[in-house]
């Protein structure tokens, strides 16, 4: 009897505490974006709107944000295109070096970021390439692509091959079959893989730090600034990104909810 009651309150209490643990730091970032703290933003000094009305007030904050957005967009596009092709190729076709290919995809996910960053840096030093925007892009595409392949591959494997066969029976050519049948069904998976890529690229610090030289992304800016004190404007950017991402997710949920409801109504 005691143990059943124990189970009843244990899960909700521990689960709720875990949510608090997860969300308190985010709340701190948000609250301290309103801090009138000047250069160091460690202690609460009073409420102000000025950080939000002038988010580019601190030097380099906006430049690093623009850099991160640009790296994230370019790396995501390349990784999503290459990764989706690999995912389709791996599920639909058989190869001699299949296991090698699988290993090549999984290993980057099972290697710590320091090692990925260090080995790419060793490669760039060896080639004599100058570190900067493009070396960061190369690094980001590398680790994003594995995630894209794994995510999209699950989706391709779940496709019903009979739909394409039906299209072929109706005289649809291979290209038409792909763009009218396969691609639309893969699209949700591809979109979520792309969003994941962008989020990872945007928030990556360790690999970027190894391969960026003097080029500064937003996480690198925050990390370097942490030694002297992070300006409140960085918290504004962080909070704004959080709100935008949350809105995107909510809109996405709303769309799929509506679509499901419409489908149910039709059925």
């Amino acid at each position: 009897m005691y143990s059943t009651r124990f189970g009843k309150w244990f899960i909700p209490v521990v689960g709720s505490l875990a949510f608090v643990y997860l969300l308190v730091p985010i709340a701190y970032v948000f609250v301290f974006s309103f801090n009138d703290g000047g250069k160091t933003n460690l202690q609460w000094r009073g409420f102000t709107w000025s950080n939000w009305t002038n988010p580019c007030g601190a030097p380099q904050v906006c430049q690093s944000l623009v850099n991160s957005l640009s790296v994230g967009a370019v790396a995501t596009i390349i990784a999503t295109v290459l990764g989706t092709c690999v995912a389709i190729g791996l599920v639909r076709y058989t190869f001699r070096f299949r296991n090698t290919a699988d290993l090549l995809i999984i290993l980057p996910l099972a290697t710590p970021e320091v090692v990925l960053g260090a080995s790419l840096l060793a490669q760039f030093l060896n080639l004599g390439w100058e570190l900067g925007y493009w070396t960061v892009i190369i690094a980001h595409v590398m680790f994003c692509m594995s995630f894209v392949i794994v995510t999209v591959r699950a989706r391709v494997a779940g496709l019903d091959p009979r739909l394409e066969e039906a299209a072929a029976d109706l005289y649809a050519g291979p290209l038409q079959r792909f763009w009218r049948i396969t691609f639309p069904m893969l699209l949700p998976g591809i979109v979520s893989a792309a969003l994941l890529s962008f989020a990872m690229s945007f928030d990556d610090f360790i690999i970027t730090n190894f391969n960026s030289g003097t080029f500064t992304t937003f996480p690198k800016f925050v990390y370097v600034a942490a030694a002297r004190g992070i300006p409140a404007q960085a918290n504004v950017i962080g909070s704004a990104m959080f709100i935008v991402a949350l809105l995107i997710v909510l809109v996405g949920q709303g769309i799929s909810y509506r679509r499901r409801k419409a489908l149910a109504a039709r059925a």
């Binding site: 189970g7 730091p25 190729g89 076709y93 058989t94 710590p112 840096l121 991402a245």
Partner: protein, 315 residues
């Protein structure tokens, strides 16, 4: 990458006579196989050039030597295996500490993540709206910069913060004690930062848990603990397995938490050393050999773990 004729999985006709397909079909399938090769070639080439080859370069760089009278950052190819001995002797305690911190963070994250995932996936299964909101909150940390959140922990655990003051008030923490710049703060940060990676796979497993099995167990007079260990946990194992790997591997190599929340004495992690060997000391061979040691150590640990607990659904 070369191509072969695609075959239905599992069957491999040994003799031509067993192949019942018409020549046209065989030719069409061969063409499809070639197209598949073109699909995966660019991506695979990319991974070869910017993942596999760099690892080889890292391996060779770990054996480089500094030439007599060479400039800073000038190293020449060699077979200096001593590099490994030197960095091992200097940094094995740091390596062990990194693994201990990562292990503690993984265990604590598992203990926190499991009830949380269970709450959302099983207990709230019939409350769609609440479940949806909590799911969004579960992935919320991915949307905000992890360095800013780590910095927030510095504020939360600061001497004048409510956590430290509260612990001092009930005398758990001595009056002159600190929470920041301690191993506790670093492990706390590691646990926090990798918690979502633990939670989401467990959630995915528990979401498929058939609750009728739990009812059946209790109908058969299984006490709740037995039900948990014999029914719930085995079903959640793929998620637990994936989650622990996704937490342990990045945590062992992480250095942001140690750098922001630690001190210079007893919290240094291996990632910090690799970083400073590369950029401050400009000892590329030393940094490369440390990276190789870290990579090999993690691979060995992960392989043992997969052998011991591995499920077919992952790897």
């Amino acid at each position: 990458m070369s191509t072969t004729t695609p075959l239905p999985s599992g069957t491999r006709p040994t003799r031509r006579s067993q192949d019942l397909r018409s020549p046209e079909e065989v030719r069409a399938e061969k063409k499809r196989g070639r197209m598949g090769a073109w699909l995966i070639l660019p991506g695979m080439l990319y991974l070869l050039l910017f993942f596999a080859l760099p690892v080889v370069v890292l391996l060779s760089m770990s054996l480089f030597v500094k030439p007599e009278g060479g400039e800073i950052g000038e190293f020449v190819p060699a077979w200096k295996w001593d590099n490994y001995l030197i960095v091992w002797n200097a940094y094995w305690p740091v390596l062990v500490r990194s693994f201990v911190f990562a292990l503690i963070a993984t265990v604590v994250a598992l203990l926190i993540a499991f009830p949380m995932a269970y709450l959302v996936a099983v207990r709230l299964r019939n409350y769609a709206l609440l479940k949806g909101i909590l799911l969004v909150l579960l992935i919320a940390p991915f949307f905000s910069s992890f360095i800013l959140r780590t910095q927030a922990w510095k504020q939360i655990l600061a001497d004048e913060g409510w956590v430290a003051q509260g612990l001092k008030a009930v005398a758990i923490l001595p009056q002159d004690g600190h929470l920041t710049a301690t191993p506790f703060a670093v492990v706390c940060g590691l646990t926090y930062n990798f918690l979502p990676f633990m939670m989401l796979p467990i959630y995915a497993s528990l979401d498929r848990l058939d609750t009728r099995l739990l009812e059946a167990a209790s109908d058969l007079y299984a006490p709740p603990a037995t039900t948990f260990f014999r029914v719930t946990l085995p079903q959640a194992m793929p998620g637990v397995f994936a989650g622990t790997l996704l937490t342990f591997i990045p945590a062992a190599g992480d250095y942001v938490n140690a750098a922001l929340l630690g001190n210079n004495r007893n919290t240094t992690m291996i990632g910090q050393v690799i970083d400073s060997r590369f950029f401050r000391v400009v000892d590329y061979p030393g940094a490369a050999s440390l990276s190789v040691i870290l990579m090999v150590a993690i691979l060995i640990l992960v392989l043992i773990y997969i052998r011991r607990f591995g499920t077919k659904e992952l790897f």
